[in-house]
Assembly symmetry: C2
Homo-oligomer: 295 residues x 2
């Protein structure tokens, strides 16, 4: 059973005349005859009674007519859907951004990219570290911007974009707020607000550990906005990337004696670089002046 033959049959069922149907279909009459015969062989019975000018459907033909019309309708819907999508679909890059990355700095980079490529739509999607790898691999997103390289997944290709300092962040009323920098060991004196489930938590904790210190954790949360809210109310202090620490009622203080750095990476499944738009995005992100944008 093929759609072409179904269309032939439906036209014939409407005209009840092989020659006229063939003209409408812009094929020759013998071609139509053969196609109908083929359908009849498939269905195991005559669809049409040929009686000179009295051509008409058999009972089998009548009963199949409705069913075949449904097939044709479904096919037409699919075709219309395809052309609608093809028309509407401007090229679109879907970018996963790890939730620990401040969208501001990435946003500036992407804004500039879109100025250079105005036809390209960009879709930003928020992902956690756990789901970002899966989304990359199954095609839900095209590229990802992450705070720590996904380790031991050979299919993913990772480019480092920039590094930024981790800073101590506290509320504007905190007694640290007017200082430029503090030593790491001073951290222990302050109540600490711990951000869970972020890729730099381990880095912070191990650094503290290595210096035989311990943090006085008074609160913890997965959500950056809640952490910031607690900081603003002076519940404690926390350590976070410099770009995240910029917020109303928050002050950043650098660490004197330790260079806590976190890197931001662009990750893409190997093999997907061939898309020209993705290629352009990678090139733009890697040549972008990130340090200039950090202030």
């Amino acid at each position: 059973m093929e759609l072409r033959r179904i269309r032939y049959f439906l036209t014939l069922a409407r005209t009840l005349n092989f020659s006229q149907a063939a003209r409408e279909l812009k094929i020759s009459q013998p071609a139509l005859s053969k196609a109908i015969q083929q359908l009849e062989t498939e269905f195991g019975g005559r669809l049409v009674r040929r009686e000179g000018r009295l051509t008409h459907l058999t009972r089998l033909g009548e009963r199949m007519h409705a069913s075949l019309q449904e097939v044709e309708d479904a096919a037409q819907r699919a075709e219309r859907l395809a052309s609608r999508i093809a028309k509407a679909e401007t090229a679109c890059i879907r970018i996963a951004i790890m939730c620990t990355i401040d969208p501001g700095m990435v946003g500036r980079c992407l804004a500039q990219f879109q100025q250079d490529n105005p036809a390209l739509a960009i879709e930003l999607l928020d992902f956690t570290a756990a789901t970002i790898q899966e989304a990359l691999l199954n095609g839900k997103v095209d590229v990802a911007i992450i705070g720590s390289p996904v380790e031991a997944v050979p299919r993913l290709r990772t480019y480092e974009l920039f590094q930024e300092n981790m800073v101590v962040s506290c509320g504007a009323q905190n007694r640290l707020a007017h200082r430029e920098s503090i030593p790491l060991k001073m951290m222990a004196e302050f109540p600490y607000i711990d951000r869970l489930r972020c890729e730099f938590r381990e880095m912070i904790l191990s650094t503290v550990d290595r210096n035989d210190l311990s943090l006085n954790v008074v609160a913890s949360s997965e959500r950056e906005d809640w952490i910031k809210s607690l900081l603003a109310q002076d519940h404690g202090i926390s350590i976070m990337p410099a770009s995240s620490a910029i917020s109303a009622n928050l002050k950043s203080v650098t660490l004197q004696d330790h260079d806590l750095l976190r890197s931001v990476y662009l990750t893409i499944p190997s093999g997907r670089e061939d898309h020209p738009s993705v290629q352009a995005l990678i090139k733009h992100a890697r040549t972008y002046n990130w340090s200039g944008a950090q202030d």
Copy 2:
């Protein structure tokens, strides 16, 4: 867009692996690759991202998937319907019988025919003279048994089956009931019940007219059963085919001086004789011993 390609795509969408899908479809991998490429050309965009072991659907592919599944489902329903019909459909002859013909005599003929052809189903349909011609021509019925030949329709082929006498019919209490026969002019003395819309009415009226008689019509109806009911209650007398006049509480009386005959014909659109079952029916009906069945 062709169903074969749609099936290929659906299998590929399930396996997300060209080679495996090709194996399931029992075609080679290059054939599948080409088919999918062709679909992608038709739809104007990639359906599948080929990334080594990470083959997956693009957004276009995902959106088309549901739509194409519907097409495939509709096609499968049509196929199942066809095979169900083909399996269930015992050959069936549809026979239109004009309402003025007593089904008893025709029924005996058909019963014998079915004994000889047990695999053949017969569908009897009741038609009026006006609609029988159309039903024959548009294929609603295969053959018709009628009381008067359809005039001036060259597409119809007519065979005379038998002739039968018209008789006077009256109730059992009527004073004619015990007679064997009456002269035509005696008809005028009795109230007459006129059957409308039947093919022999004109024949009766013209015969009466030619003999300078006139009937005393006291009631008339299109329906044979109502006529018979009126006759049984002795409302009057009527003239009808001998085979119709056989009924409880009715008596038949022949006409002494006139041979009123009506013929019964089998009619078929020319060109439809080629069906073997219809052919057999025609042969059977024409060689059937109708006069022997009249008693």
